[in-house]
Amino acid sequence: MIDTPLVIAERAFASRLIVGTGKYPSHPVMAQAHAASGAEMVTVAVRRVNITDRSRESLLDYIDTERLFILPNTAGCYTVDEAVRTAHLGREAGLSNWVKLEVIGDERTLFPDTEALVVATRQLVRDGFVVLPYTNDDPVVCRKLEDAGAAAVMPLGAPIGSGLGIQNANNLRIIREFARVPMIVDAGVGTASDAVVAMELGADGVLMNTAIAGAQDPVAMAEAMKHAVAAGRLAFRAGRIPRKLYATASSPVEGLVGR
């Protein structure tokens, strides 16, 4: 069953898995995990260069930019101004006008400040960015982000780095039903089955970092996630059977021996 590519802002991706570049045991392990994941887009953070210690290797030495599209984020930004400034710096440091927009509202949960997120989205769209906002699983906020010009909506499955899996499947289904742009489930995936669930709900893609980078074997988990996203997508397209309370026999009831 040949699938259509994931298309965001007219750019097509054969893989529906987007992965991060943070928290890996080492840069070489990250590079292997990226290859094993089959992902075509990776997120990066924008931070001050370490002036005093120039010995550390550059992250970009380990990202195959021929194959991987780089999506800078605004992680750690708590205000519209910080996020917009960081997005602009990311655009200048990189090669594209795409940004994974985060405006965080709370340190412990890392839940987004959705009010500021909508304002920042509008601002960055006006500045010519392709904006992919990380948001909560609220259909109303997703609609506002879309109206503000977001190229995709990226609701969380659970808090960032929590590995709790999809907490509110119904909200994600509602968001998918109404969104006119791709819905990428961003954050909360803990293991392969979580990614399958997200895709079975109809997500157009899944974005994850910790689930792969923090696994005991990140390269193996990256491969598991590749299969999970593909399997969930295929099951969604295949159309699952309805849920029923009672059993329905799979084998014929006629012709039983001895009756």
């Binding site: 991060g20 570049t21 924008v46 120039r54 970009l60 400034r85 710096l89 440091a93 990189g94």
Partner: protein
């Protein structure tokens, strides 16, 4: 020097201004105090952003530079002069999700 392009004229002018202020020769180098990535930083001036990056062993193709809260396009690194008291931010990509 007279044949040099506009960038160096700007540089010379800046040196003269600084010389008037400091009462020293316009051609001699002097120590500038700037704020680099939020920290006080001393360096010998005058110099351009390109010179600063070279001094710090930073590949200009992999960073973005903000000069007094204004993002510099890469093609302006060479003709942007660092002045006393300037605020400079140099950022790059690091691992993130």
């Amino acid at each position: 020097m007279a044949a040099q392009p506009a960038a160096n004229q700007e540089l010379t002018l800046t040196c003269l201004e600084r010389a008037q202020y400091a009462g020293s020769s316009a051609t001699s180098n002097r120590v500038l105090l700037i704020t680099l990535n939020g920290e006080p930083y001393e360096l010998e001036g005058p110099l351009s952003v390109t010179d600063l990056l070279a001094k710090l062993s930073i590949d200009p193709r992999r960073v973005a530079v903000e000069h007094n809260y204004e993002i510099l396009k890469r093609h302006r690194f060479a003709d942007t002069v660092v002045h006393e008291g300037d605020r400079i931010e140099i950022v790059n990509f690091v691992g993130g999700g």
